[in-house]
Amino acid sequence: MNNIGAIDIALAASVTAILATCSPLVVRRQQHLRAIMCLLLAITAALAVAAGISGLLGSHGQTTLPLGLPWMPMHVRIDALAAFFLLLIGALLLPAAIYSQGYLRHVKQLIPMVVFLPLFVLGMIGVVISDDAYTFMLFWEVMSLASYFLVTFDHHQAENRKAGFIYLLMAHLAGLLILGSFAVLYAASGSLEFQAMRDAPLSPVWATGAFLLAAFGFGTKAGVVPLHGWLPDAHPVAPGNISALMSGIMLKIAIFGFIRIIWDLIGAGDFQWWWGVLILAAGSSSAITGVLLALQQSDLKRLLAYSSIENIGIILIGLGLAMLLARYDQPAMAALGLVAALYHTINHTLFKGLLFMGAGAVVHSTGTRNMEAMGGLIHRMPWTAALFLVACVSISALPPFNGFVSEWLTFQTALLAPQLGSAMLTAMVPFSAAMLALAGALAAACFVKAFGVVFLGLPRSDMAIHAHEIDHWMKAGMIIPALLCLLLGLLPVSIIELLDGIPQLLLHVSLTESVQTHGWLWLTPVHASQASYSAPVALTGMLIIGGAAFLFLHPKGHAVRRSTAWSCGTPETNNRMQYSASSFSQPMRRIFSAIYQPEEQLHTERRAHPLLTTRVSYLVHVHDLAVDKLYQPIANYVLLQAKRLDRRHQQDIRSYLAYTFYTILFLLALLSVQQSAMEQRNQPAATSQSQPPATLPGLTSGQTGTEVRR
């Protein structure tokens, strides 16, 4: 093809990333290094966006690179799905790159960042455009490894090292599971190329195996409850720009892999009814657990990490619904669910990226992640506060921002779903929808807490008092996703049309005609008479009314008087009076104490009389049950076995000789048993080797043997 296709642009993007990785070889000065990396990353992002959009507009393409295995060069390909995720990568990478230019200014040892950040990006792009199992796994693991090095970027705190270790371990586990899933598909299709895997017919057993392996692999990587234990440790300890990328993009790459394998390679045709149920259940539990735990965090970035788990849950609810509907031959509705999930995917990329960047800015200027030490930052960092607020509103699924659109679509999928196979299923769908509603509302509570405690009220520490506004690079980096959040909230119709290629690819149905009926202004997923939503109208209405009220009520030159706030008559309000992060979530703790099982310690020091309380200290620690009940026991078991085995390594030489002795005896015994068995099977054992080419019977028998084993 003579004209440039999406695939070429994508490859160009990866090349740019590689260049950025190699830049330390030529550039020495830190300042230049930073600038060059950010510039190259920005270019990569721009190219990714370009590739994504052109891919979504229908410019697909595939090619093979002279890399990889000898008999199988790397296949790369861009279809609608890949294009969408390329777009997603670029959409957050661009602001992140700009943000990094400011964020990394004070970083001392820049080299690892410069090497591994682009490598990380390269891995993600590679996964998305890969078109065979080997390439997929290669880039997947590159992504994991690079991100590990980024998590342990600041490796002087022990907690970071621990987090990094667990992260790498779980990432490796995920990788191996996914590898297993691919191996199943490979065994079924006999080829590593995706096309062959698509075409290969799958027996239900194989399909289930592949599905389970993939689901658990990608679930681990995406932080689905109860496999999420690593996530809330790993994301906070990374530098701000990195946690933005990890939470914003990397988790979505896991979603991509999920869709790629389960929807694309296994194919909607092979779905079984309980797959959807499983995904739906996992999604609901992740959504609820994630947000409940997020509510209890007083570490800002940890809170955000848990909320990522929640959002992954929401995405999975959409996917699970879609899988159920696809199973029961409702392609149109399934497409709606799929689109809802994808829409939420990109939404979460945007606002979670923005949130982490904001958190990075806050941590950067206060020097702590502890919300209890923050407060009142809205006065010191107005820009950050405003942008963070936008993200909070979006993630709380409030109109007119983007978060609401995707959740609304998910609701529509659930509410408008017609009768499914059994009443049980049909009743389960709305239940999950209710869980989604609960999660959404809790998320709102959670982010009221986040924003309120961090930015509002009075400063709770000197660090908060002396906080300073961020520089223009970081500001610029945060403004872009904020605007995108609003844009995606206002123009859902156009976005859905852009995404339409994906349901066409996976389900062979198109949403456009049903969506477009009332033009760009009205979002009518199925039909206007069933459900409709128009953010622009709502927004204009609000602007009109609000403006009117403002003009009406706001008298010119009428200064507002300020005075101290009311605190039951005590003259001076101080910062210790206000609600803290943990007190805000206290009702929740009490209501859901069954889930939290909080460890609370209350110390009251009294002087002489029981009423003269001098000081009260309240400590609360909320456990993550997944870690306590799942991770720890397994680890302990393995270590116990290791210990047992280690005893064997502490004997003297004779016992080792004894092992050799026993081994040979064992082998000989085994042999005699096997031979007697063989003699019973075919009596004339002696004659068998008298026939001239004795290998032939051997070959045949052996082959039958392997057939049996297959």
């Binding site: 004779r654 002795f661 031979q675």
Partner: protein
């Protein structure tokens, strides 16, 4: 002298071989262990010679002489010097008491006989029976290495295994090709030299030839328990 006679002779020698192995296993006094070891060496040489006569292959004469020199004289002498210089005379009682060891040894022998049955059926060689014996001897040698504490007795056990290998080579396959035999002999020689070297080092570093003494330096005990 016809083949059957040779075969009978070899079988007799095989029986003796087995006897020596048992004796080595049973002995406690270092010197007598050494004597039995030397005896085994001689036995091998004789076997080699007889088989050589029976098959009329000159190679085997050479290897017979080699065996006589190396295993019958040189190695015992070396070990004897070591013993004298290091004053190790009496092996402290072995791990298992001797009667139990004997029982195990018998069991092992029976097992090896059972294992070698199929071979016995198909081999046309004049000396196939000795294969079973050789196997038994190998295992007995290992047993000896396992049950003894002193480094020297371990070495003797090792050499006993070598002997029985050699016996297998001659007794049941009429000897390996010369090159291989020379190679093997060469290796055994070097091994013996290194052994000698070691004895003195071990003695000087651990002032004992007990195996446990060495062990202490290798076991990486957990301190975290």
């Amino acid at each position: 002298m016809n083949g059957t006679l040779v075969q009978q002779l070899v079988d007799g020698l095989a029986a003796l071989m087995l006897l020596t192995s048992f004796a080595l296993l049973a002995q406690h006094r270092m010197i007598s262990v050494l004597h039995w070891f030397a005896g085994q060496g001689l036995l091998l040489a004789v076997t080699a010679a007889i088989v050589a006569y029976g098959t009329g292959s000159d190679e085997l004469y050479i290897s017979a002489i080699m065996t006589l020199l190396l295993k019958g004289l040189l190695l015992p002498w070396l070990l004897w010097r070591v013993i004298r210089q290091l004053q190790v005379h009496r092996e402290v009682e072995p791990l298992l008491n001797s009667s139990l060891t004997m029982l195990i040894a018998l069991g092992v022998t029976l097992f090896s006989f059972h294992m070698i049955q199929p071979i016995e059926k198909i081999s046309q060689l004049i000396t196939r029976d000795s294969m079973a014996i050789a196997t038994a001897c190998v295992l007995l040698g290992m047993l000896m290495m396992i049950t003894r504490r002193k480094a020297i007795t371990q070495v003797i056990g090792f050499l006993a295994v070598e002997n029985s290998l050699f016996f297998a080579a001659i007794g049941s396959t009429n000897g390996m090709p010369l090159v291989v035999e020379i190679g093997i002999a060469f290796d055994v020689l070097i091994a013996a030299l290194i052994f000698g070297l070691f004895f003195f080092q071990i003695r000087t570093t651990f002032d004992s030839l007990e195996v446990e003494a060495m062990n202490a330096h290798l076991i990486h005990k957990d301190d975290d328990e």
